[in-house]
Structures are given as C-alpha cells and as structure tokens.
Symmetry: C2
Subunit: 233 residues, 2 copies
DNA sequence: CGGTTCATGTCGCAC
DNA sequence: GTGCGACGTGAACCG
C-alpha cells in the first residue's frame, strides 16, 4: 500500500509519482527544488531542500523549514509530472485561471506514496458554540435581553443574534469567539445602521458585540457609534 | 543526509524522529494516526492514514487527502515524541498557552528525515506594488490627484495614500490588490471619518477605494458614505 | 458560481 | 509582547 524510493533519478521519480497518482495515492517528495508561481501574484523560491506533498485532489504543497503555511502551493488545477533534462518537474496549472506553479527538482532524495484518509473532524469551541451559550443565557448579552431570531437578514448581512432589550429596544448582537479588533466593530455598526434604516424611524436600535476580549481601538469605535461590548468566558 | 525507514515499529520510529530532530532535521511521517487538539477550540480527527511533517521550528502539520490547509497542526510550542503502548505519539504543547495537539500513530508506514531550506521568496504583485503604480500614475485614483504621503497616520490607522484632489480637497486612498468586499469599504470609511475629525472642521475630505474589482454591497456602502471606487488593472 | 463571513486563521510589521 | 492589517489567505455556507 505504501511505496517508497530512495534517491531515485528523475525518470524513476517521475514514473513513481505518475503511477502513484494514477492509483489515487498521495505522493511525498523530498529533495532540492526551486519553484515559480505566476498568477494572482508572482513569487519564486530559490533552490533548496523542501518537502513536496502532492495530494489526490491535485493540491501541491511545498514546505520549507518553518511555518504552518506552505512556501508555495497549487490547488484546483491539474498537475503534470515530467522528467526533463534529468530533472523532475511538476507543472501545476489552473487551466482557466492564470495561476500556475512549477516545481523543478535538482535532485529527489526521497519519494513515498500512500493512500491518505479524508475524514471529518469533531469540532467545538467555535462561534456557533458561543451562540448556543448566548441563547441559553441571554443575560450574557445584557440583563433582560430576549433573543428573537438568529442569522436575521439585513441589507448589510445576517445578524448573529437579533432580539429585544428589557426596554423594548431592538438589539443586534455580533458574536466573536476571540479577541476582536476594529473590523468586528465596523461589522456590527453596518448591521445596526441597516436595521435603523429598515425599521420604523422611531425604532430604537442598539448593538452589542459579545467576545472574550476587545482591543482599545475597537472599544473606541464602538463608543463613538453608541454600541457596547459584553465580555464572555 | 537524508535518512528513511520503512514500516518501523513504534520504538524505532520514536528514536528515528528524536535523533533527526536532535540534528536539526525535519521529519516526515506517514502512517495511520488520530489527533486531538485542545486549546482555542477543540477538534479531533479519527484514525486514518495521513502525512505528518515535523519541522525544525517544531511546527507539526497533519495533512489528509485534500486541501491546502492541514487537518491539524501545532506551532510555537515544544514537541515531545514517545513510544507508549507500542504506539508512536507526538505531543505538541504550547507550554504556557492552552493549545495542545496530540498525534497518536497506530502504525508508521514510512519515516524520512531531511535538512530543509529556509529561503526567502521573491515576491511581486502585492498591495505595495499597487502603491508604486498609484504613485507613478496618480490619475489612477482620480484625474488631478496629487499624492502627499503614504501610510499617513490617523487615529483609525495609517492611510495607504494621502493627498489632494484637483479641487484642493483632502483625499484618502485605500488600496487593495484584489476584489474588495464590505470590510474594505468600512476600513476606508474609518480613515475618512478620522481625518474629518482631525482636520479643520471646514476641511473637505474624500475617500477613494482603489482595487481591481468591487462587490455590489461594498459599492453601495461606499455610495452611502460619499466615498468612491476607482478600478485598476 | 458569486457574495459574505469564519478561522485553532497565519504572517509580518510597527509601536 | 500587543495591535493592526494583508494574504496567491482557505473553507463553509447560502443565494
């Protein structure tokens, strides 16, 4: 099921990779390579030893020594493998779009092929969890808050939680599962403005940003617009 | 320099990985594994064959069959490798923070160690390129626009390009290298509002969003706030 | 397919 | 270290 090659020449490596991908396997290549990307931007990597992962969905990832994100990558397009000039070359072309990645190996130190899993993860602790909590305990938003609906549509987009305050005012709630900055404050402001416009002119609309923490600039933005922040957890 | 093992037992795989990382190498492991993440969120992956890349900076990436992003990962913390119960286990703990990832292998099909490059890329086509273009040809913003400074500070943050229009009005320019949505329109609005507040009350301040394309909702947002959009490239 | 928003976003830079 | 915004963001969700 899992195959491997050590220090193959370009022809053997190309055949190995093509065969493996033909069988629906993923291919891991380690070797000295350089990359060229042209498309939404232009980016090239000098020659150096890297790990290249070619997935069954034709995602190609080029990983260097550090970081979570690949140094170069290609998604969505087709991938062609070839040994030219004694060098293994992957050409990843997003047929229609202009995005094109080329990975050229000076040498392949190691190649492995395997049949990877595609399983879904169990998740929790996300924004929708926070929504559950707020619906279960609306006082987290403000004392006496009464939720009416979630994802209520406005011209500016859906409001996370929509309801009424103890005073009868409309309350729009924006939820964030982590520290929030100015962008989140603006998002809430857009929703509140849209509601003020949509509802009767005399309707009182307030906005509450619910998150574990907030930056100073975001706090000021909220204050300027008469919006409030409610910390949770 | 590059070492490899085929179908090692847990003890051999653990020793191999520990040695390699001790030598500053990166380790690639392929095998049946399950993961547990606990921290900012909770997420777990069921057992399945995956590729695990353990980098010299102690980034650990767990890749499945599809997608650019890893199915699970850990960065920043320390990594401990151990063979317990005949199973290879990576424990990635962000010492102080709560983020913790555990990767437990039922079996290791393949292990490779190599010395990866950490080279910087040549980049172009980014937002700062767009800035160059706008400074070289200010008419891209609007006819007669005269840039005065870049990254001009405001209480809301730095304005990409700051200058004057033909009519003498202050013009704030926000640059985006690709299609923009409501968030970019709000960002420009924040800058313009900050400038209107900061400058003399009688100062005329306008805002221009420069980008290749804009969504309809963003266009409406701009219009509502008297801001404009200028397409480029 | 486009539009919008979420993310364990990550990453880089300035203060 | 925190704050802030860009990113070839990616990925899900919804029309």
């Amino acid at each position: 099921m899992t195959r491997a090659l050590s220090a193959p020449d370009a022809d053997r490596a190309a055949a190995f990779a093509a065969d493996a991908r033909g069988d629906g396997l993923a291919v891991s290549l380690v070797g000295e390579c350089a990359t060229e990307f042209e498309g939404r931007a232009e980016r090239s990597l000098p020659a150096g030893v890297r790990s290249v992962l070619w997935k069954p969905d034709d995602t190609v990832l080029v990983h260097g020594a550090t970081g979570r994100d690949p140094d170069a990558w290609a998604t969505g397009g087709s991938v062609a493998v070839e040994a030219t000039d004694g060098r293994l070359e992957l050409r990843c072309g997003d047929g229609d779009a202009a995005d094109a990645l080329t990975v050229r190996f000076d040498s392949v130190q190691h190649a492995a092929a395997f049949d990877p899993a595609d399983a879904d993860a169990e998740v929790s602790g996300t924004e929708s969890d926070l929504k559950e909590r707020v619906l279960a305990d609306p006082d987290l938003v403000e004392p006496g808050f009464q939720p009416r609906s979630t994802e209520r549509e406005t011209p500016a987009g859906p409001v996370d939680v929509y309801g009424r305050g103890r005073d009868g005012a409309v309350v729009a709630v924006e939820l964030k599962a982590r520290r929030v900055g100015p962008a989140a404050a603006s998002q809430l402001e857009r929703y509140v403005n849209a509601l003020r416009r949509d509802l009767h002119a005399d309707a009182d609309v307030r906005g509450v940003l619910v998150a574990p923490e907030i930056t100073e600039k975001a706090r000021r933005l909220l204050a300027e617009n008469g919006l409030s922040f409610s910390p949770v957890e």
